[in-house]
Amino acid sequence: MDYYLLTMCVYVVVGIVACWGLNLQFGEAGVLNFAYIVFVAAGAYTTSLLSLGPHTSASYQHYFWGTTLPWPLPWLAAGVVGGVLGLLVGLLVLRRLRGDYQAMVLLVVSMMCTYLVSADPGLLNGGIGLSDIPAPYKNLLHTGQVGYEVFYLGLSILAALVVFEALRRLNASPLGRTLRAVRENEQAAEAIGYNIAAMKLLVMVIGGAVAAVAGAIEVEFIGAWAPAGWTYPETFGLFAAVIVGGRGNLGGVAVGAFLVQGLFLEGTVLLPHIGSPQVIGAIQWMSLAALILLFLWFRPQGVIPERRRRFGEIEAGSLDGALPAQALARAGRGSRA
C-alpha cells in the first residue's frame, strides 16, 4: 500500500507540474495548446537520452544519440529542450494564425509527432519506446524500493516548489496581468502596445519548459517512455484538470490535477471489468469528457476560481479637489508628450 500511495503521490506531483505549465498557456494567456503533451514527451525523451548512455550495437533498443549526465542536469536540459521546442512550434503556429486555427494546427502537430516517433524505430525506439531509464542516484542509495520512492518524491516536490515559485511570481507581476489581458481581448491588448505573437511565444517557451520538466520527473520514475503514453488525448486530460481546478489559479490547478489525475482517472481503474479490457479505458475518456462538459456548463470558473486582484483603499490623492480638466490632464500626462 505504501508503494502504491507513493507512486500515486509522484504521479500527482507530475500532473500538478504539467498542469501549471498548461495553466500558464491556457489559463493565463488563453493559448489553446492542443500539442501540450508533446512538450511533456520532449522532456521525457531528453532525460532518457541524457541518462541511458551512448547507444551501442549490442543494445536491445535503438536511439539516435545518448549520454549519461548526473541529476539534475537531465531535468534542466529537458526544460531547455522544452523551451526551445516551444519557441519553434510557436514560431510555426502563432505568428500568422488566429486562436482557433492555432489550436487546430497544434492538434495536428501533436498527432504528427506521435506518428513520426512511432514510425522510425532508429529515432527513439519507435512504438516500443525507451525502457530501463535509470533513476537518479538509485544505485548509490541503499534504501530499498519504498525508501527510494520517498527520496524520489522529495526530488519531485523540490522541482515542483521551484516551478511553483517561478510561476507564482510571474502570475503576480505586471507581466502576468498582461498575459491575462491578452487572454481576455487580444485586439485591445495590441491597441495599447503589446505584440500578441511575442506574448504568446513567451508562454509557449515557459510552458513548454515546465511541461518538459514534468516529463523528466515522470520518466525517471517509471523508467520507460513510449508513444502510446503521449497521444493527443492525454492533453485533454491535463486540460480537464485545469478547467476543473480553476484556470488562472495555481492552487486551484493543483487541486484539479489531484482530483482529475489522481482520483478521477485512477478511480475508473478500480471499476469492475465490463466486457473487453478496452471498455474501462473508453469509460475513462468518456467520463473525462463529461467532466469537462459539466464544469464548462455549471462551474466554468472551476473549484477554486481565479483570484481577484484587489488594490488598496482610497489614498488621499494629491489631486483631490482639482478641476476635472486639470486632474485628468495631470493624471494622463505622459512622458511621451
Binding site: 505586471p174 491575462r180 505584440n195 494622463g332
Partner: protein, 277 residues
C-alpha cells in the same frame, strides 16, 4: 475618504470656446491618399488630411461612409491598400497596432474593447508602458523589484478613476459594469498608456444620455489640456461641442473638411447625410 463631487462642466460649441491646439504647429498626424479596398469594394478612397497637436477632429458621415475603416487603417488594425499615415513623421501605414501604440497613437473601440475578467484597476495598470515587472526577468525578480513602480501607477490610476467617477469601482470586474462605464474605463486605460493622440471609435455610442455626457466631459477635459483627438461619432451635437474641426466622409470619400457650423450649409454634406434633400 469619499471622492469630492465633480463640478459639471457646461459644454460649449466650437464657435464659443477659444481655439485649442498649437496654432501653426506641424501636424502630429498626416494621412496622405489613404485607400482601403476589400476585394472590389473601396471602403476608403484616397483620403488625405492632417491633424495638428492639441486639436480635436471629428470624422463624421452616414453609415457605411468608411469612417471606422479609416480609423482602423490609421491605427494599424486594417492594412491600407495604398497611401501613408505619418504620425510624428514616422510612416505607420501597414504597421501593426502595437507599433502605433508604442509611438503614442492609442485607439479605443466602438464595442468590446475591455478586459472583462480584469478589474477596473487592472484594466488601467495593464496599459502603463514599460512598467517594471513586464519582462520575464523583472517578473521573476519579484514584487520587491516592481512593487514601488506599480504603486506609483496605482496612485495615478486612482486619480484617473476619481475624475471619471469610477473610483468606487476599481476592484470590480469590468464585465460587471454597464456599457457606458466600460467606455469610461477604456478612456482611462488609454490615458494610462501615455498617449500623444487618441483615436476614438464612437465613444458615446450605445450609452445612456447621462453617461454619454460624462464621457463628453472627460474628452473635453483632455482636449482642453492639449491632448490630440480624432474621433468617429454619430452624435453631431457632441461632435460640435467637442471638435475644433470635422472631416465629412461619404461612400469612402472625403467630401468636406472644416468647422462644423460652416459645413452645415454645404450642399454635398447635406446630400450625404440627408439623401439629397
Amino acid at each position: 475618504m469619499p471622492d469630492k463631487p465633480v463640478a459639471p462642466q457646461q459644454p460649449v460649441s466650437a464657435a464659443e470656446r477659444p481655439a485649442s491646439g498649437r496654432q501653426g504647429a506641424a501636424p502630429v498626424l498626416r494621412v496622405a491618399e489613404l485607400t482601403v479596398r476589400f476585394g472590389g469594394v473601396v471602403a476608403v478612397d484616397n483620403v488625405s488630411f492632417a491633424v495638428e497637436p492639441g486639436v480635436a477632429v471629428g470624422l463624421i458621415g452616414p453609415n457605411g461612409a468608411g469612417k471606422s475603416t479609416a480609423l482602423k487603417a490609421i491605427g494599424g488594425e486594417v492594412k491600407p491598400t495604398s497611401g501613408a499615415v505619418f504620425f510624428d513623421e514616422v510612416d505607420l501605414a501597414g504597421r501593426p497596432p502595437h507599433v502605433a501604440a508604442r509611438h503614442g497613437l492609442i485607439r479605443t473601440f466602438q464595442l468590446g474593447g475591455e478586459f472583462g475578467r480584469l478589474t477596473v484597476m487592472e484594466n488601467l495598470l495593464v496599459a502603463v508602458p514599460g512598467l517594471r515587472g513586464q519582462t520575464i526577468w523583472g517578473a521573476l525578480a519579484g514584487k520587491r523589484w516592481w512593487g514601488a513602480a506599480q504603486q506609483a501607477e496605482v496612485r495615478r490610476a486612482q486619480e484617473v478613476l476619481s475624475r471619471l467617477d469610477l473610483r468606487h469601482k476599481d476592484n470590480e470586474y469590468v464585465r460587471d459594469l454597464s456599457g457606458g462605464q466600460r467606455k469610461l474605463v477604456e478612456i482611462g486605460r488609454a490615458l494610462m498608456a501615455r498617449p500623444k493622440m487618441l483615436l476614438l471609435d464612437e465613444p458615446m455610442a450605445g450609452v445612456n444620455r447621462s453617461l454619454a455626457r460624462h464621457i463628453e466631459e472627460a474628452l473635453t477635459a483632455l482636449r482642453n489640456d492639449g491632448l490630440t483627438l480624432l474621433l468617429v461619432e454619430h452624435e453631431l451635437g457632441s461632435v460640435e461641442r467637442l471638435c475644433d474641426r470635422v472631416i465629412v466622409m461619404a461612400q469612402g470619400r472625403q467630401i468636406a473638411d472644416g468647422d462644423i457650423g460652416q459645413l452645415r450649409s454645404r450642399q454635398e454634406v447635406l446630400s450625404a447625410y440627408l439623401g439629397g434633400r
